[in-house]
Symmetry: C2
Subunit: 604 residues, 2 copies
C-alpha cells in the first residue's frame, strides 16, 4: 500500500498499487475535476507528481497534454497508476479542482400561508401510580392510542419527555404517523433542499411561522465521480459500489447542510421533523438508491414519477426519529421534481397569456404556458455553460471571467472576486461568443476572422486570445477556441430548438411570448442581450425577461411550508404535456437552423 498526499489541501489517503491517482483522490474526498468520468478524454484532471513512484505517461496523456504541459510535469490523474509502496506527493493545481461554485440560494418569493404537512398536538398525560399501571403511550390524554402509527425510535423519546416536562408533550404528526414527541412549547423545523447536479441550496424553516431560519449552499460531491449526469449514471450502472458511494456522499452533504442551517438557528438537527428534496430525476434516483439503468438508456424512464413520502432516518438523514422526506413528482426521465418546484415557485401555470419558463443546465427544461395549455420538454444543452468541454472553461469560482464587453476596440473582462483570471465561467463564455460575434470576429457560422492579430492558428483549432499568459493567475493564456464556439453553438441551438418546437406545438410564434422566466444560477447571471445576440433566446424586448434565481429552491421551501402546494404539484404534473424531442420529426431541422449565431435563425 502507498500513502498518497494531495497538496496544497494536505489530504492523505492509503491506496493500493494499480489504483489511479483519480481513484485515490476520490477516496480521499479531493474533488479533482473529471468531466468524462475518468476515461481520459476531457483532460481536466491535470496533476503534478512531486514525489513517489507512478506509471510513465501513456499514449492518452501524450495525446491530451501539450508539450509544455508535459515539460511542466503535468499528468492526467485518471491515467496515472500508483506503483510500489512508498509515499506519493501530488500537487493539484487550482484549475483542476471542482471548486465550490458560487451558490444560488435566494430567489424571488410569492407569499404563502403556513400550512405544513405536519400537525402539532399539545398533550398532557396522567402520571403513573400503583393504581394506574397503563403504558406511557396509553396514559397520554385526548388521543386514541390505537389510531396512530408509531415506530420504536419515536416512541423511545416519550417516557423521558413526559417525566422531564411535568407529564406534557408536543406530539408532531404526519397524518397518522407520529414523527416526534417534543418537549412542550418547542418549535418544529423543516428542511428544504434543491439538489442540483453541480450545487445544492438548503433552507431551514420554522414550521409554525414559515420563517426561514437558516440558509446554506454546497457543491454536489458527486462531481468528483463525474461532472455531468450521464457520467454518474454510467458509474452507477457499471459498479454497484459506485452507486452506493454516490448515494453515501449525497447523504453526507445533506447532513452537512442540515447541521449548518441548524447551527445558524441554534437548534439540534433532530428538531427537523419534515424534509423536502427537489432535484432532477437522476439526482432523485441516486439519492434514494433507485436503479438507474432504465433511466440512463433509451427510452429513459424513471423508476417512479409519483411523489414519495418516505422515512428520513433509514436513508441516513440526521433528522427527527420519525421525520418524513417528501420528494415531489418527476415529469419524465429528464424533467424532474426541481423543474416542478421551479414552475410552482414562479406560478408559471397561473400566468395569463403566453409564458416561457426555462431552467438552463446540462439538460435545459423548458415549459410553455400557452393560454393555460402547458407544454414541456427537456433539451440536451450539454455542460458548455458549466465550463466543461471548453478550452479554458471553469465553474463560477474565484478567478473566473464572468462578464466581457467590447470597449475602445478591445475586450474588457471582469472576474469573480476580482482575482487574476484563470478561465471562463458560463456567463463569461456566453459573453465572449456574443461580443466576438458583435465585433465581427466571429461569423454567424462561428468561423473566426483570419486577420485579427489576437486570433492564434498554431493548430487545427484556432483561438482568440482573451487574456495573455502574462496577465493570468496561472501563467497560461485564457482564450476562446473555434471548438469552444462550436460547443456554445450546439448548446444554444438545443435550447432555442426546444423553445421553437414548443411554441410551434402551441400554434404560436416566438414573438407572441409575453414573458420569459429564466431560473437557476447560470440563468441568473447571464447577460440577456448576449443570449439574444447569439440566438439562444428569441429576440424579445428585454423587459419581458425575468431572471428569478434559484426558483427550484424556493419551490422546495413552498412545498415544505404549505401542504396544499404538494397537491398543486400533483395537479401541475398531470397538466404538463411532455414532448419528447429525441424522436421529434422536426427537431433535427430546427436544431441545425438554430446553430447559426444570429438572433433570428429561422429567417434563413
Amino acid at each position: 500500500m502507498s500513502e498518497i498526499v494531495f497538496q496544497p489541501v494536505g489530504r492523505r489517503v492509503t491506496a493500493a498499487p494499480g489504483e489511479t491517482l483519480l481513484e485515490a483522490a476520490q477516496s480521499a474526498g479531493v474533488a479533482i475535476s473529471a468531466v468524462c468520468g475518468g476515461i481520459g478524454v476531457c483532460g481536466d484532471c491535470r496533476v503534478r507528481v512531486l514525489r513517489g513512484t507512478v506509471s510513465a505517461p501513456n499514449a492518452i496523456e501524450q495525446d491530451q497534454l501539450t508539450d509544455s504541459d508535459q515539460a511542466a510535469g503535468l499528468r492526467l490523474a485518471c491515467q496515472t497508476v500508483i506503483k510500489g509502496a512508498g509515499e506519493i506527493v501530488v500537487d493539484v493545481p487550482r484549475e483542476s479542482l471542482s471548486a465550490p461554485q458560487r451558490s444560488q440560494v435566494e430567489g424571488a418569493e410569492i407569499p404563502l400561508a403556513v400550512e405544513p404537512a405536519i400537525q402539532v398536538h399539545d398533550l398532557s398525560a396522567a402520571p403513573p401510580s400503583i393504581h394506574d399501571l397503563r403504558g406511557d403511550w396509553e396514559r397520554v390524554q385526548g388521543i386514541d392510542p390505537a389510531a396512530w402509527r408509531l415506530d420504536a425510535p419515536v416512541l423511545a423519546e416519550l417516557p423521558g419527555v413526559l417525566r422531564a416536562h411535568g407529564w406534557q408533550t408536543r406530539l408532531i404528526a404526519h397524518g397518522a404517523d407520529v414523527v416526534r414527541f417534543l418537549p412542550p412549547g418547542m418549535t418544529p423545523f423543516g428542511f428544504a433542499v434543491d439538489v442540483g447536479t453541480t450545487g445544492l441550496a438548503a433552507y431551514l424553516v420554522d414550521l409554525l411561522t414559515g420563517q426561514t431560519r437558516g440558509i446554506a449552499g454546497a457543491t454536489n460531491p458527486q462531481i468528483a465521480y463525474g461532472e455531468d449526469v450521464m457520467a454518474r449514471l454510467t458509474l452507477a450502472v457499471r459498479d454497484p459500489a459506485g452507486a452506493a458511494r454516490l448515494q453515501a456522499v449525497m447523504v453526507e452533504v445533506l447532513n452537512g447542510l442540515l447541521r449548518e442551517v441548524c447551527t445558524q438557528a441554534g437548534v439540534p438537527t433532530d428538531r427537523v421533523v419534515d424534509l423536502v428534496a427537489v432535484g432532477n430525476t437522476a439526482m432523485h434516483h441516486l439519492l434514494l438508491g433507485l436503479p438507474v439503468e432504465q433511466l440512463g438508456s433509451a427510452p429513459y424512464v424513471p423508476a417512479i414519477a409519483s411523489p414519495l413520502v418516505i422515512p428520513a432516518r433509514p436513508l441516513g438523514l440526521e433528522a427527527a426519529p420519525g421525520a418524513r422526506l417528501y420528494l415531489p413528482p418527476n415529469v419524465a426521465g429528464f424533467v424532474g421534481a426541481d423543474h416542478v418546484a421551479m414552475l410552482l415557485a414562479t406560478a408559471t401555470a397561473d400566468q395569463p397569456g403566453v409564458t416561457l419558463s426555462l431552467d438552463i443546465g446540462t439538460n435545459t427544461e423548458v415549459t410553455l404556458n400557452a393560454h393555460g395549455q402547458l407544454w414541456c420538454c427537456s433539451t440536451a444543452s450539454g455542460p458548455a455553460f458549466e465550463g466543461a468541454h471548453i478550452r479554458d472553461g471553469m465553474r463560477a469560482a474565484a478567478g473566473a471571467i464572468e462578464r466581457l464587453i467590447w470597449q475602445d476596440g478591445g475586450l474588457r473582462w471582469l472576474t469573480i472576486e476580482h482575482a487574476p483570471p484563470v478561465g471562463l465561467c458560463g456567463s463569461g463564455i456566453l459573453d465572449a461568443v456574443a461580443v466576438l460575434r458583435a465585433a465581427g470576429i466571429l461569423s454567424d457560422t462561428g468561423a473566426m476572422r483570419r486577420d485579427d492579430p489576437r486570433v492564434r492558428r498554431e493548430d487545427y483549432n484556432p483561438r482568440y486570445e482573451i487574456v495573455p499568459a502574462a496577465q493570468t493567475g496561472h501563467g497560461r493564456e485564457v482564450a476562446l477556441s473555434r471548438g469552444d464556439v462550436n460547443e456554445v453553438q450546439l448548446a444554444k441551438a438545443a435550447i432555442r430548438a426546444g423553445i421553437k418546437l414548443l411554441v410551434e406545438r402551441a400554434g404560436l410564434s416566438e414573438a407572441e411570448i409575453d414573458r420569459v422566466i429564466v431560473a437557476g444560477a447560470f440563468g441568473n447571471y447571464i447577460d440577456l442581450q448576449s443570449a439574444i445576440t447569439i440566438g439562444m433566446f428569441p429576440p424579445l424586448p428585454l423587459e419581458r425577461f425575468h431572471q428569478v434565481g434559484n426558483a427550484a429552491g424556493i419551490g422546495a421551501k413552498r412545498l415544505l411550508i404549505n401542504a396544499p402546494e404538494r397537491a398543486r404539484a400533483a395537479v401541475l404534473v398531470a397538466r404538463l404535456r411532455y414532448i419528447e424531442l429525441t424522436n421529434h420529426p422536426d427537431f433535427s431541422d430546427r436544431f441545425s437552423q438554430a446553430v447559426r449565431l444570429t438572433p433570428d435563425p429561422w429567417d434563413a
Copy 2:
C-alpha cells in the same frame, strides 16, 4: 492491548489493560455465565488463566472461591483484570458457560385459517417505449399508484423484477404499504419468534399455505450481560452503551435464527415479508431500544402497552426491504405479549368452567378464566428453576440432572444426554426437593434431617449429597443445600400465592379449578406430582393438568398466519383484569403460608 484467547471454544478478542476477563468474554461473544451481572456475588464465572498476565486474586475471589478451587487455579472472570500487553489464554470450564439450553420450539396447536396480515397481488406492466415514458411504478396495471405507500428500498427492486420477468411482478402489501416486489409466482414467507429471557424459539412459515418450513432455537445472548431480567434492566439504565449492546446482540441472534430457518427452507432471508415477535415486556423494550428506567422501578410501567407494527429493516433485521414486525400488546410491566400469545394458543379465554394458565419463569404469569371472567397477575418466582442462586444449579444442558426418584432407600438420577452429572436443572431441583421431602429428609419448613449420613454440615449451610464427587463430570460433588431448598420454597410460594389470590378474587376455591395449563420449557419438563408434593401447584387430580410446551411460540405463529388473531389479541388484553400483587393486602400472608413444603399450605 492484549489478545485474549478463550478455550476450548477458541474465540479470540483484543482487549485493553484494565478490562476484566468477563468484559473481554462478552466482547468475544463467549457466553460466560454471570447471574449477578458481574459484581462478584454469584461465583458463576469461574475460569482458569492458562497463560498471560492478569491481576492477583482479590478479596472477593478469596471469599467466593473454595480453597480447592483456588488451588486448582480457578478465578472469577468478573474480578480478574487484564494487565500488560501479551497474549492471555483462558480456559472456560463447561459449567461456567451459559450453555445453549434445550430448546422448546414445538407445542400443541389448534388449527387456524391462513389469513395473513400481508396481501398478495399478481400484477403486470406495459413495457416502456418512446410512446410510453411513464415511470415503472406508474406502468404497473390495475392499481392506483397514488394510493400506496412505498419506501425507496422497496421501490428499488421494481425495475429489475419487471425487466427480468416479462413485465410481471407479485406485489406483497401490508395494508397500504408495499412490502416487496417479488418475481411472479414466488412464495412469501413469515417469521415468528418467541423471545424468552433465556431462550428463543423461531419458526419460518409459508404465508400462502400456513405450513411451518423451518424451526430453530437459540440461547438469549443477553444472558452474558445478566441472567435475569432485572440485571439486564439495571445494565440498560446505568449505561446507554449497555442498552445498545443488549439490543444489538438481540438483533444479531434474531438474524441468526432468520438465516437458520431460511436455510432449512432453501430461501433467502429477504423472502420474509412479515414478522411477529413475542416476549415479556422487558424483552420487548430491549429489542426495540425503548427506555426501561420506568419499567425497572416502581410502579413498573411500560413505554407502551398497545400493539406495534414497525418496519423491520431499520431495526437491523435482514428481512424483505418493506417487511413489518408485529409486536402484540403488553398487559403490564411484568405481563408481556408472550403471555398474551400463550393465552391465545391455549384458547384459555374460550374455555368453559374454570381454567388456570401458568407460564413459569423468573416471573411467572398466571391467568385465571373463572367462568368467562379473566384475572391475571405476575409473581416474582425468581430464577431458582433456571438454576440460578442454586449451589449446583444449571440450565437444561448436557449433564444436568433433570429427574430424581427415591428407589430402594436411595436417590436415582437421570441426566440430559446421559452425560456424567454436572449439576441440577430446574426439573431436577424441583424433584430433589420433592423426593427429599417425601423421604422425610426435609421437613415441611425445609429443615434437613441431622442424622442422615448424606447430609453434610461442614458450614452454616448443610447440604444433601446427591452425587458424590467421584461420579460427577467435573470431580466435585453435586448436592442440594439448605439454602437451595429455601430458594425453591420462595419460588414456589410466590407461584402458589399468586394462584390462591386470583382464585380468591374470583370467589372460588382451588378445588374448583377444572384445568391447569402449564406452558413453557420448564413447565413442560417438570414432574407434576413433585410440583404438587412441595405445594407449588394445588393438589388437583393429575388429569386436570396440561403441559403444553412452548405455547407462546405457537401463539406467535398463529399471529403470523392469521391476522384476525391480532384483533383477538387486542380484545383479550382489554378483557384481562390485571391484579398487582406487590401492593396486594393479602399477598404477604398468603406468601408466608405458601412457603411450607406441603400440598395444602392453607390448611394450617
